[in-house]
Symmetry: C2
């Protein structure tokens, strides 16, 4: 059956994505992935003959889409860009707390561990960040900001969200995210 086939592949990617998010690249074993995904080692290497790296790259792309979805949801909450950004920080804070501070950014840990040593993964990471920046940039331009301002602000918004997510996870507190929302709103406010 086709559904079973894609079902297994999908389960493997989802499990990998979640494990990479929580344990990082080196801390996650293929056997743990196959166990968690309720698939066998044979299935894993059948779908991902490129091994751990190919699997991780695919999981990064999955995390990319996941985070992009959250961004779009937050940005759609208000026409005002400043309010839209704080909606994003609110969503991130809620998700982080709901997971008991376990699920931060889905790709940061893997990105840092593999930088400069796993080109396939790095490429997926770069694409994810570019995707996220583009989503924010589009929102800012739609709100009337100039092209250069929107592009630059979008980059800082994403970078700052990353930093705040990290801080919130470490401190086990929503506060860094809420604070960042307020400061980003203030920064955006200086552009009108």
């Amino acid at each position: 059956m086709k559904t079973t086939t894609t079902g297994t592949r999908e389960r493997i990617v989802r499990a990998t994505s979640r494990l990479l998010q929580r344990q990082g690249y080196e801390g996650t074993g293929i056997k743990q992935i196959s166990r968690e995904a309720e698939a066998t080692l044979g299935s894993v290497y059948h779908f991902f003959p490129g091994g751990k790296q190919e699997l991780a790259a695919e999981a990064i792309r999955h995390g990319d889409q996941e985070f992009a979805g959250l961004l779009r949801e937050g940005l759609g909450a208000s026409p005002d860009p400043a309010e839209a950004i704080t909606a994003c920080t609110r969503l991130l804070a809620e998700a982080l707390r709901a997971s008991e501070w376990q699920d931060g950014c889905p790709i940061t840990s893997t990105a840092l561990e593999t930088v400069g040593r796993a080109p396939v993964i790095e490429q997926a990471v770069v694409a994810a960040f570019a995707n996220w920046r583009a989503i924010v940039e589009e929102k800012l331009r739609a709100s009337g900001l100039g092209a250069d301002d929107a592009r630059e602000l979008a980059a800082t918004v994403i970078n700052t969200l990353e930093g705040a997510e990290l801080a919130a996870q470490i401190a086990r507190s929503e506060e860094p995210l809420h604070l960042t929302g307020r400061h980003l709103a203030r920064l955006i406010g200086t552009y009108r």
Copy 2:
């Protein structure tokens, strides 16, 4: 000899700090550390009977001091807080480029990998972030900002620097750091 003794311990901590920075916690083995530090496995466990976790916690504290030194150097470059922050981003960018994009924040990777599963390390991480925030907060207060504003801005400055450092490392470009410097300067400018 006392110097030889402390010399070995110091070499182990330095090597561990550098390796954790570049490869993360799970990606770094004790044997690699002892090799890199030109010490034997026996010496490592002699000085750090708590094993890898104790060693990592000590290395985090070393990285804490290192980053704090850079912060102090940058902040001391100008009496104006906005200029001082951009001096920090400049120093970070230079260091990152000089290491060929290998040496980002000394503790981020390890922090993310061990969050919620290695209390000894987590404690050192929390202390490091608190230390860095305090350094920036003091500078902002000395520049005339109110107590609450200074505290909040300091937190955002550190978080944003972290995010920018991450982005710069991944993109192999100084640009995210310089951009962040400009945006942080602008944000600080709204408080006078």
